[in-house]
């Protein structure tokens, strides 16, 4: 802290400045002091200079002034104002050039000094403000320090007080404990004392009682008597029996009979209760088995699944139990078996519920990853429809081919046929162009339709997925809530159907894959097809028929794509295409055409142009 003070105290620094000024004053003559003052106060320079010079140098003391200046200048390291004199006696002459040089140098120096001074001043200001800031900071920190110190002291004080209190409380607690101990001891001693006294008193009391008894009873009290007009018969009509050992035995027997009856009654009750509980258990077991059975089919298909074996195991157990009807036997082995099987089933159920849980979470996680999921039913329906259409198309093509062949057969002459064909072609070309445009439009429409269909299918798939999710959660809920097992069967049936639906979930995923691949296969196959198409195209006789075949064929192609199993890769697909052609020659142009239809419109345009060239 002290260091800081010395460094930053403005009073001190100003003092030191003054001191430095004073020191310079001592060195300099009064006139030089003035000049310094001039240097320091630079603003009213010119006037001061005038007055200064007028004061410093007069007509009379020019020589002295010059010599003084010369002296001063030489001491400051300037060249002498006088010319170099050869002789000592000769009066030295004033060198005007040197004077001017000196003056110039002095002026330059002056300017430099002014600049430096300015800099120093600004720096000084800066430093001053910095110092102010630092001082503020310092003050603040000091305050903070002070407050925190106070706080610390306060806290320490409180701590001390609390500790003091704590100590007091501890002391009190100890005292109380001691007191409790003391009191307990007192109570215990009192209790023993009391018991002892009681016993003594009671003994005395008994003695007195005995005495009283003797006195009262033995004194042949005439008063103690019963006056009865006549004795009445017993309620049961029997006469009183003599007390013998026999009656004693009989009484014992009767007592044990009563006890036995009671125990038998209770046993019966317990048995009944047991039977009812067993019934409930059996029902529960049955329901568990039936609940688990639809699920069991799937795991059995997957032979490696462990749960499947467990379920079948359990089912065998259950079957055995119910078959042999050993529910009524309450021997331990059966009980063990029963509890084991129940436990197993319970485990399975638990795992199933967990699986359902996982599925639900997985579905949530997957989200929209498999957007184009299409359900199996939709697929099947669609394929059926398409196959039907293909059939129709094939028939159509067949008839067309037959017609063509007939035409060819009728035209026996080559020339005429060529002519005919030529004119036919020309005519046909015109028509074909029109048809082409028509066809293109239709194709566009078809494409649109197909897109909408796929979209609908996607939507369906999504909905189905959502429904599956919901059902899974509902099922879980239902299962968890299923505490009573005597629910109606209808509910259970619902449950089971819901369970059986769940395995289908996997299939859409499988089917979706080939659909995703489809664009690839089309694009790869298309260049091959186009060249063939150009040749096969002109043969079609009627436009409408052609359009039909086209659309059908395209559908057929999509079907063929859909049928591809996920394991198949693109080259295989091509090979399959070839086999298809071999198998059914009638479908060949159609199928290839369909392939081309999958590709863009530019392709078809190019075909037409090619057609137009020859």
């Amino acid at each position: 802290m002290g260091d800081w003070m010395t460094v930053t105290d403005p009073g001190l620094t100003s003092e030191s400045k003054n001191i430095s000024q004073y020191t310079s004053e001592t060195k300099m003559s009064p006139s030089s002091l003035y000049s310094q003052q001039v240097l320091c106060s630079s603003i009213p320079l010119s006037k001061n200079v005038h007055s200064f010079f007028s004061a410093f140098c007069t007509e009379e003391n020019i020589e002295q002034s010059i010599s003084y200046l010369d002296q001063e200048l030489t001491t400051f390291g300037f060249p002498s104002l006088y010319e170099e004199s050869q002789g000592k006696e000769t009066k030295r002459k004033l060198n005007v050039v040197a004077v001017l040089n000196c003056m110039n140098e002095l002026l330059v120096l002056q300017r430099k000094n002014l600049l430096a001074q300015e800099n120093v001043e600004t720096q000084n200001l800066k430093l001053g403000s910095d110092m102010d800031h630092l001082q503020n900071c310092y003050a603040k920190l000091k305050e903070q320090l002070e407050t925190s110190r106070r706080e610390v002291i306060g806290l320490q004080e409180r701590d001390r007080q609390l500790q003091c209190k704590n100590r007091n409380l501890h002391q009190l607690l100890k005292n109380e404990k001691d007191e409790v101990q003391k009191l307990q001891n007192i109570i215990a001693s009192r209790a023993t004392q009391y018991n002892h006294d009681m016993k003594r008193k009671e003994r005395e009391y008994n003695k007195l009682k005995e005495r009283l008894h003797q006195l009262v009873m033995n004194k042949k009290d005439k008063k103690i008597a019963m006056e009865v007009l006549n004795y009445v018969g017993r309620a049961d009509g029997k006469r009183g029996s003599w007390r013998t050992g026999k009656t004693e035995a009989r009484n014992e027997d009767e007592m044990y009979k009563i006890l036995l009856n009671d125990y038998e009654y209770r046993q019966k009750q317990i048995l009944m209760e047991n039977a009812e509980l067993k019934k409930v258990l059996q029902q529960m077991k049955k329901e568990m088995i039936s609940l688990l059975s639809p699920q069991k089919q799937k795991p059995r298909e997957r032979a490696d699944d462990s749960t499947g074996t467990v379920i079948s195991d359990v089912e065998e157990d259950g079957g055995e139990l119910s078959r042999e009807n050993i529910w009524d036997l309450s021997c331990e082995t059966v009980r063990e078996q029963l509890t084991n099987s129940i436990r197993k089933q319970w485990r399975i159920l638990k795992s199933h519920v967990e699986k359902l849980d996982n599925q639900v979470s997985k579905v949530h996680l997957e989200g929209f990853n498999d957007e184009d999921v299409i359900s199996r039913q939709d697929h099947e329906q669609e394929t059926e429809k398409l196959e039907l259409e293909i059939q129709q198309c094939k028939e159509m093509i067949k008839t067309q081919q037959q017609l063509l062949q007939q035409q060819l057969a009728t035209a026996c002459d080559d020339d005429t046929t060529s002519l005919l064909r030529d004119c036919y072609l020309l005519e046909e070309k015109e028509r074909l162009k029109e048809e082409w445009s028509l066809f293109k439009e239709q194709k566009k429409n078809f494409e649109k339709e197909r897109r909408s269909f796929t979209e609908a299918a996607i939507r369906l798939g999504l909905e189905r997925k959502a429904f599956e999710e919901e059902r899974a959660s509902w099922l879980k809920q239902q299962f968890l809530n299923m505490t009573t097992f005597d629910h109606q069967n209808s509910e259970n049936v619902k449950l089971f159907s819901a369970f059986s639906g769940s395995p289908d979930r996997d299939n859409p995923v499988v089917h979706s894959r080939p659909r995703q691949k489809k664009p690839h296969s089309v694009s790869s196959g298309s260049p091959v097809c186009t060249s063939k198409l150009a040749k096969s195209l002109p043969a079609s006789p009627s436009t409408s028929d052609f359009c039909q075949t086209r659309s059908c064929a395209s559908e057929h192609s999509s079907v063929s794509v859909l049928n591809i199993t996920p394991e198949e890769t693109k080259p295989n697909q091509v090979g399959r295409e070839c086999t298809n052609q071999k198998w059914n020659p009638a479908s060949r142009p159609g199928s290839q055409e369909g392939r081309s239809s999958g590709c863009s419109a530019t392709f078809t345009n190019s075909h037409i142009e090619k057609d137009g060239l020859p």
């Binding site: 009682k209 007390r243 009484n251």
Partner: protein, 460 residues
């Protein structure tokens, strides 16, 4: 609901015969026997002194009148009005007298519990049982009347003797592990005997008929213990009310705790219905308003009618702060009784004296709380159906059934303060007893109410 006219009564001595045909009541030294339905006087017997206790024999043929002050018991026959019997205990004195279940023997306890004398009406024989213990409930017969269990004190130890009632032969005699046996009670099936210790220790012991200790139960230590005990009519449950304000229900298979029914002053369970009795302000007819207002009607209390209101459920009940420095503090479960069909348990906590708690035994939870305007004196279950009659010493009688509850004003001039009540064995009528009068309250006969003989539930 009809009320009979008011008859005179003394010492609250009024009892229906077990077969339900007769009603015996005492006026000073006279014993009046009436027909229970017509209330005609059938017989009138005159005893030697003021009657202090009466009891019907089980076959309703005899009535026992105990005159404790004189050490006398007089027995009257209903069939033979001129038959009489007088038992004099002489200088030994008399503090208690009761019938044996066969109705042909009378058990008299002498002063200082020196002995119990068993007098037979059939033969001249007299039997003595020594060392009976002076306690809350030292004599108990099984329901079927075969056995008598008697608490005894010998050599500063508690014992229980079981006698065969047919020939008063000792069947079993065993020591009980108690400091100071307070009471014994047979289970209704007659196979289990519950014995409980004095209130200084919470301890209840269960003995089989053959004297084996079946189980011991102790809920807590170092505090006042059992105050009241009741078996359920099916012998399935044993309800134990204690000074901590809780009823503990034990089961009959393992004799372990089944439920702990607390009686907090604040009822918070939303499934509980709280009926609160409220004074009904008398209807003010404009024409009857007189000026200056007439004086308050004569009598100690204006007979204000009351009705039940259903209180909103987080309800708080009026509590009584028990004085801790007195003996027998007013706290704990002072009375508890099962309904005859075992479905309900009615309790009264002495620190909340104006409330009757009715518990659903099937669910073992609080079912209904009835809060009366004044402290509940007595409550009794209908011997035929789940119906509870309550009296509070006011001029009303209160009836509760699962369907609801009513407060019925006892008609008649003056104030009829119902101090006690007893049911007719058929459950059709109810005798309401005040300090020196009684009247009968006839309830509408409901379906399923027969007239067969039934034993009254006297556990309250």
């Amino acid at each position: 609901m009809n009320f009979s006219e008011v008859f005179k009564l003394s010492n609250l001595l009024c009892k229906f015969s077990p077969d339900g045909k007769y009603l015996a009541s005492c006026v000073q030294y006279r014993l009046v026997v009436r027909d229970a339905s017509t209330l005609q006087i059938l017989q009138l017997y005159t005893c030697l002194d003021q009657i202090q206790h009466i009891e019907w024999s089980a076959d309703s043929l005899f009535i026992l009148c105990a005159l404790y002050r004189r050490g006398l018991v007089q027995v009257w026959s209903l069939e033979q009005p001129d038959w009489h019997c007088k038992i004099d205990e002489g200088s030994a004195g008399l503090v208690a007298s009761c019938w044996s279940p066969d109705g042909r023997h009378i058990l008299n306890t002498t002063e200082f519990h020196l002995r119990i004398t068993v007098w037979s009406l059939c033969t001249k024989s007299v039997s003595y049982i020594k060392y009976p213990k002076a306690c809350q409930q030292g004599i108990t017969f099984t329901r079927d009347g075969r056995y008598l269990a008697l608490a005894e004190r010998r050599d500063c130890r508690d014992h229980v003797s079981i006698f065969v009632c047919s020939d008063w032969q000792l069947l079993r005699h065993f020591e009980t592990d108690t400091q100071d046996l307070a009471g014994i009670e047979w289970a209704p099936n007659g196979c289990v005997l519950a014995a409980w210790d004095t209130c200084l220790e919470y301890k209840i012991l269960l003995y089989s008929l053959d004297g084996r200790l079946l189980s011991t139960y102790c809920a807590y230590e170092w505090s006042l213990g059992i105050k009241s005990v009741a078996w359920s009519p099916s012998s399935q449950f044993l309800a134990v009310g204690s000074y901590d304000g809780k009823v503990r229900v034990l089961n009959h298979v393992t004799w372990k705790l089944l439920a702990e029914l607390g009686h907090p002053a604040a009822v918070s369970s939303p499934s509980t219905v709280v009926y609160r009795e409220a004074e009904k302000s008398p209807p003010l007819a404009l024409g009857r308003l007189a000026f200056p207002p007439p004086r308050a009607p004569a009598g100690p209390r204006a007979t204000t009618e009351s009705k039940y209101e259903i209180a909103t459920v987080p309800a708080s009940l009026r509590t009584l702060k028990p004085t801790a420095d007195r003996a027998n503090p007013r706290m704990g479960i002072g009375a508890l009784a099962f309904s005859l069909d075992n479905y309900f348990l009615a309790t009264r906590s002495d620190s909340i004296p104006s409330a009757v708690w009715i518990w659903d035994v099937r669910k073992l939870r609080l079912f209904v709380v009835l809060e009366q305007l004044s402290a509940v004196r007595s409550f009794r279950w209908d011997p035929r159906q789940p119906r509870l009659a309550i009296c509070t010493g006011g001029s009303q009688v209160y009836l509760w059934s699962p369907a609801g509850c009513v407060s019925v004003q006892v008609p008649g001039e003056g104030d009829f303060q119902v101090l006690s009540l007893c049911w007719h064995p058929s459950g059709d009528s109810l005798a309401l007893l005040s300090k020196d009068h009684f009247c009968l309250c006839f309830l509408e006969a409901e379906e399923g109410v027969g007239t067969a003989l039934g034993q009254q539930d006297d556990h309250t």
